[in-house]
């Protein structure tokens, strides 16, 4: 099922939660909505589900406009952040619920509902737990039951709200791999919300980076990581440093000297240079480079990070150096970014 979100705007009490969001999701894709809290990602997910309705704009399921359809009519599988399992029902009854409440004409026989629940329990690797109650399960198991329950109604789209948010790191990594497998096996178009960039980058075919009710960038993990299209994406995904610079005749200047980087397309004037700690080359001499004083140095896994203070205003940037680099406190280090982007400074 293809999804198309067209110029959707959503206000809560006049406060815009989403502003003019458009997004196309291909059939069978696994999409992550990634952003900090308050970026509108959960709102967007709920609009797709029909748990909320857009103030303006349209949501299309295939060619059909679903904007005004009720959540029941849309036939989506929704996995809630805190699972929302029915505590008075067993695991088996929870999974079969969506089939049990169908109108008599399309409702499978009780035995068939049971069999379907068993199949799904197998799929989520919880066979044998059908008679337990939700409060007798661990967090990870509840998550799986919630997914099985959503899959039971043969949804056109699978939507997951912070699916791993309430789990500890170990279980989280395990379930992440498992969700990818389930997706590949069942082929559902899947959208999940997360604030965890590692989760989004690892799991999703494409990542939708959101901020303040807007889509900042849509792309594969490589695209959003290697070619961020805005200062926000640069700083939100992965680590990066920003340094105020000046663009003059297509060249970047730091204070009173050029730093040896050319930006032919950038408009002149004040701008910010963004680069990641690992995308730098260390230089000996300084004929067009950035130079700073080492203010701190720390070991990060297999590398060493040093923090530099640059210029009279002591702008701080972080770069990666070899483990054996003799970066002592107060010594001067010169470098030049190898991969970077420059964005005009916002007024």
């Amino acid at each position: 099922m293809e999804l198309s979100i067209r110029n959707v705007r959503k206000e809560f009490d006049r406060f815009p939660a989403l502003e003019d969001v458009s997004l196309d999701i291909r059939s069978g894709e696994l999409i992550a909505l990634l952003g900090p809290s308050g970026s509108g990602k959960t709102t967007l997910l709920r609009l797709i589900a029909g748990l909320d309705f857009p103030t303006s704009g349209a949501i299309l399921f295939g060619d059909e406009d679903a904007s005004r359809k009720s959540v029941q009519e849309r036939n989506v599988g929704f996995v809630f952040q805190h699972y929302a399992l029915f505590r008075n029902m067993t695991v088996g009854e929870n999974i079969g619920f969506g089939l049990k409440v169908r109108p008599a004409a399309t409702r499978p026989a009780t035995a068939d509902i049971r069999r379907r629940a068993m199949e799904l329990l197998d799929l989520v690797q919880l066979a044998g737990l059908e008679n337990r109650y939700p409060n007798q399960l661990s967090g990870g198991q509840r998550q799986r039951v919630a997914l099985a329950r959503a899959l039971a109604i043969e949804p056109r789209v699978l939507l997951l709200d912070e699916p791993f948010g309430a789990l500890d790191a170990q279980v989280r990594r395990e379930l992440r791999r498992w969700l990818r497998e389930i997706h590949d096996r069942t082929g559902h178009t899947t959208v999940f919300v997360t604030h965890d960039q590692e989760e989004a980058l690892e799991l999703a075919d494409r990542v939708v980076v959101m901020s303040q009710g807007r889509v900042e960038q849509v792309g594969s993990a490589d695209e959003v990581y290697d070619r961020p299209n805005s200062p926000f994406v640069y700083s939100f995904i992965g680590e990066s440093s920003g340094l105020p610079v000046r663009v003059e005749n297509g060249e970047l200047w730091l204070e009173d000297r050029p730093i040896g980087l050319k930006a032919a397309d950038a408009p002149g004037g004040r701008a910010t240079l963004h680069f990641r700690p690992q995308d730098v080359e260390l230089l000996d001499g300084c004929g067009g480079c950035i130079a700073g004083t080492v203010s701190s140095s720390r070991r990060v896994a297999g590398t060493r990070r040093i923090e530099l203070e640059i210029g009279p205003e002591h702008h701080r940037v972080e770069i990666e150096v070899p483990i054996d680099h003799a970066a002592a406190q107060k010594s001067r280090v010169a470098f030049r970014p190898t991969r970077w982007a420059v964005f005009p400074a916002s007024a």
Partner: protein, 296 residues
């Protein structure tokens, strides 16, 4: 606790929230004495007095047509008032817990009104509002032939007013706490509004609902003040058990005293049965109770 020198009592003393033993002993003793003097002894007196002239005299009460009518009316009033307040309580709790609308906080306060207003005042208000010489009362009487005041409908009405808050008060905090997550899950799975209510909302609140109904029932059968004002105390017609007890008690006959306490014993017995049912249900469904109370 591997240290053998550390007895259980010492261990308890180590807890920062536990007081020294004299304080604990005093608190426990006070509680027991108060409960005994104020609750248990009076209850025993009721049964002792009822059987004061032998069991035969006590049972003879129930050959009095007035007593039988009073028991019948009490059961009838409870049978009407409790379901009414159950339905209203669920509806009000649903509205307050699941929707946001202006005046919501005020509505919560209003629901508490019967707790804060004296039942006698409530009864009087109904008399002034629906009596045969008021516009509404006259209209009901002349056009439909329905007497409200000094008749059974008035007794039911007064009882509903007095027991109004019990179910709603039990349900509102619980439903607010549970939020709408489970309902959203149910409708996302295709359930209709009614199915969602029946399979998800109601089971989630069934224990609170049960407590509310039991409390409501106990109060409905025991109400005196409002009913006394509105019923006119017509023997055999509008007199409920509490009123009949009072009427017997005002007579200066030894037999009437026994009848008063016999009827009181029945009323107290109904209350004890209610408590027993509640305890039995809690014991019988302890696992379910734990399941519904354990967070998500």
């Amino acid at each position: 606790m591997s240290d053998p020198d550390l007895s259980a009592a010492d261990a308890a003393q180590l807890s920062p929230t536990t007081e020294a033993w004299p304080v604990r002993a005093a608190l426990i003793a006070l509680t027991i004495v108060v409960v005994a003097v104020l609750l248990v002894v009076p209850l025993l007196v009721v049964f002792v007095q009822a059987l004061g002239l032998g069991i035969g005299a006590a049972l003879s009460t129930f050959r009095d047509a007035d007593a039988v009518a009073a028991i019948g009316l009490t059961l009838l009033v409870a049978a009407v008032a409790v379901p009414c307040n159950m339905i209203f309580g669920i509806a009000a709790a649903w509205a307050i817990a699941k929707y946001r609308f202006p005046g919501r906080a005020f509505l919560i306060t209003l629901i508490d009104l019967p707790f804060s207003v004296s039942p006698v005042v409530a009864g009087l208000v109904y008399v002034l509002l629906l009596g045969p010489f008021t516009p509404i009362g006259a209209w009901l009487l002349e056009d439909y032939g329905v007497r409200v005041i000094f008749a059974v409908p008035g007794v039911v009405l007064a009882t509903i007013f007095v027991t109004f808050p019990f179910v709603a008060r039990e349900l509102i905090p619980l439903m607010q706490d549970q939020g709408t997550g489970d309902e959203e899950a149910a409708i996302s799975l295709g359930a209709s509004g009614w199915q969602t209510f029946w399979y998800v909302t109601l089971p989630n609140v069934k224990w609170a609902l049960l407590y509310g109904v039991l409390l409501c029932n106990a109060r409905a059968m025991g109400e005196f003040g409002a009913v006394a004002v509105i019923s006119g105390k017509l023997r055999g017609e509008t007199v409920t058990m509490p009123l009949q007890i009072e009427l017997y008690y005002q007579e200066f006959r030894a037999m009437a005293q026994v009848s008063a306490f016999s009827l009181a014993a029945v009323l107290a017995g109904l209350a004890l049965v209610t408590l027993a049912i509640k305890s039995w249900l809690e014991w019988r469904y302890a696992d379910q109770l734990a399941a519904t109370r354990a967070g998500h």
